[in-house]
Amino acid sequence: MKQLVTLNVNGNTYSLAIDPWRTLNEVLREDLNLTGTKLGCGDGDCGACTVLVNGRSVSSCLTLAVAVQGKEITTVEGLAQSGEKLHPIQEAFIEHGAIQCGFCTAGMEMSALNLLKQNPSPTEEEIRTAIAGNLCRCTGYYKIVEAIGDAAKKMKV
């Protein structure tokens, strides 16, 4: 039995009829065509599917869509607020080469945003801890950690 839900994603309101067992990840990707959020392991182990719900990072693969009604959901598509201008986190990821295959990137960026909203001046150790739930097999994390540190500085300006 489908359920009517209203989701607020990246400032847009969507009314949908969905099965109550569907995850936020499925609804974002399949119903809203927001495929920037990836599905890696589906178990909450890899962090590739990370999105923000009311400003806090969650694994969208473990979150039911019906459970986040009325909450503010932010995905990678909502990072850059307007047209051409990228978010400082995105700019820093490009400048520092913090991207290789790109499959972990959206989740990394959302974890970084989660951190920087709560802690605008994180230490390197705090950055490492903040992304410890996001696996990346390509980079060894170095350039990602650098990029998040630099994004913190950019966001203060």
């Binding site: 990707r29 399949e30 927001l34 495929t35 920037g36 959020t37 990836k38 599905l39 890696g40 392991c41 589906g42 178990d43 182990d45 890899c46 590739a48 995905t75 990678v76 598509e77 990072l79 850059a80 990228l86 986190i89 995105q90 990821f93 490009i94 400048e95 520092h96 080469g97 991207i99 290789q100 295959c101 790109g102 499959f103 972990c104 990137t105 959206a106 960026e109 950055i127 490492r128 801890t129 992304i131 410890a132 996001n134 696996l135 990346c136 097999r137 390509c138 980079t139 060894g140 994390y141 170095y142 350039k143 990602i144 950690v145």
Partner: protein, 761 residues
Amino acid sequence: MEEYSVIGKRIPRVDGRVKVTGEARYAADYSMPGMLWCKMLRSPYPHARIVSIDTSRAEKLPGVKGVLTGKDFNGWTWGWMPKTRDEPPLAVDKVRYLAEAVAAVAAIDEDTAEEATELIKVEYEELPGVFDPEEAMKEGAPRVHDYVKNNLSWDFHMDFGDVDKGFGEADLVREDRFETGRVITGYLEPPAAVALWDSGGITIWAAKQSPYFVYRHLAACFNLPLNKVRIIQPFIGAGFGGTKNDSLAGDFCSVLFSKRTGRPVKFVYNMHEVLMTCRRRHNMIIHNKMGMKKDGIITAMQSKVIADGGAYTAIGPLTMYLTGSISTLPYKLPHFRHDAYRIFTNNPIGAAMRGHGVTHTRFAAEIQMEMMAEELGIDPIEVRLKNAITAPYETINKVTVHTCGLKEGLKTLSENPKWKKRSGGSPPEGPLSHGVGISGTAYLGGARQRGHQSCGAVVRLCEDGTIDYLTGATDCGQGSDTVLVQIVAEELGLGVEDVDIKRVDTAVTPCDAGSYGSRVTVLAGGAARNAARDVKRQLAEVAARNWEVDPGDIIFKDQRVYVKGEPEKAMPFRKLAQVACYAGSGAVIIGRGYSQYGIEELDFDKGIGNAGTSYSFTSQLTEVDVDLETGFVKCTDMVIAHDCGRPLNPINVEAQNQGGAIQGMGQAMYERFAMDLGKTLNANLADYKMPLSTDVPNIELIDIITDDPNGPYGAKEASEGSTVSSPPSVVSAIHDATGIWFKEQPVTPEKIVMALKKKRE
């Protein structure tokens, strides 16, 4: 040294923007109206005869549009070489590993497809399995393939010089048994594809690292000419060899379902399927024997390698070739013998992975060399410097090295203050023991396989002076698209923003061998350079006619074109493009280029010749802290001196060295598939531990510039060297901290605690 405008600069990735915004589409991001979902039914047994399959209940489930079993592929099988085509898309007569695909369902949605797989009734007759390669080699062991005696999948016997003579000349001879573990490639993007069969043939959007393998497999399987098979490359969520370099049950089944239903068909494996079934690094047992003179000079080496091949051959013969043919680098071996056996078992399939083949035997040789140096009282760097080759050099099996930065790298590390912190056997103060280790390794770049080596590039000039660049080489994350664009821009005096690279589309892009063996920068890079030069030549002729000068005097730089020594004769590149394109009918300017490796044939059966175009050399220092009570190892620092010839994009080279070293560290310290009777016990990313952001050491990177003559702008490889150098360097550091030589990867805390306990007793 020539001054470059774009090459060697810290150019951000050309695909950076689409990746940080989420715009980049990966295979699973594609969907189409009317699309069906394909799901696999997998075997619950590692070895069983298939007695019967009843699909009738699945077919009757509403929403199911088709069911396939092995028989639907009419006996077709595939493999890396003609004589090793042993793998069917779906198991036919029997299953040979746990979770092998037995049947497939196509349905209107994923849930229905999954539900239908549970309605398929398969009757199995369970067979005794064999899971240990040494057991599988014995007479009377269960046969994985009925026609293969002693489960011998492949063997190589390489014999150079006279090892007995070499051992006779030695003052010290050691024999040790080493073992390397089963490791996952570890990409986060599960394999996926959307397939469409229509009157134009097959079109498939598939997550492939080397799409031209799959292109040939699909043409062969469905008996279509190659111009009816179109693979369009989405962005690829990493590869690292193995699975994404090959075809999968899902590829064949979704194509056949689309043929039968006329609808697009999609599959996405879940991570559990990936970890249970996908190709993984071969687990290898290496019996190594080395002879050394008192002064540390190696007199001979003999290796016997036994690899767990799993159920099918896949690319295994090449793996085994590389275990031996590259063993003669980077240390001089006057006498060398290598016997390699790849053995079928009822385990998932062993295949290529970053550091392919080389990581296993290099680990054994590095550790054994250092063990012997220790016995003889020789410093670990000293023994390496004594035996290291110096370019130019030809090994005993005719591997030719034109540039080699190994000695320079090792010397740099020996002067590093971190090397001075080495304990050298002095006891620690307290429970934490500090250790410093070293390694010096080699890897091939610009790999050449048997068979298909075609590698071309097309550079198309647009009339506004911009460039469309077509390559068959796939960027699966390593950054090759950026480097290839830099090459085209450099040759034409343009900026990277003037050159647009298209994703691989086999209907449009020129053929390429694939993204394996660190070959793209060296070979596809050479093709890109040649194609750009072809355009430049055509444009120079137009400009030369215009100015009545010699075409050789036309300079392309900073988006301008001018005559050497006559700066008043100049125009923007854009203007010249217009002049050239409007010069008359047929004035279409397209540049073609091919890679030319210009090296001799290799003798695959005997292990003679160059499997690569050039060879990178990596020297690595590693520092660890070992908790002597818990066995827990914290890797704190690495210093990597890498000779990639010349870094064409320093950001990318740094990232490759960092990522490769961390992948190697995981393999050395904790990564492994835990197996029990063919079952992968840790088939999830919590229990299979890959390094996290909090686990990685500081890394200092040093470029050793050697400018190889066989690579574009002096480049060699940069993507696999540190994966090979990392495990021996980490294990050498653990030895320095504990006084114990660990010969089996991974060196887990349990092994350390047990060994320390034994040492105390």
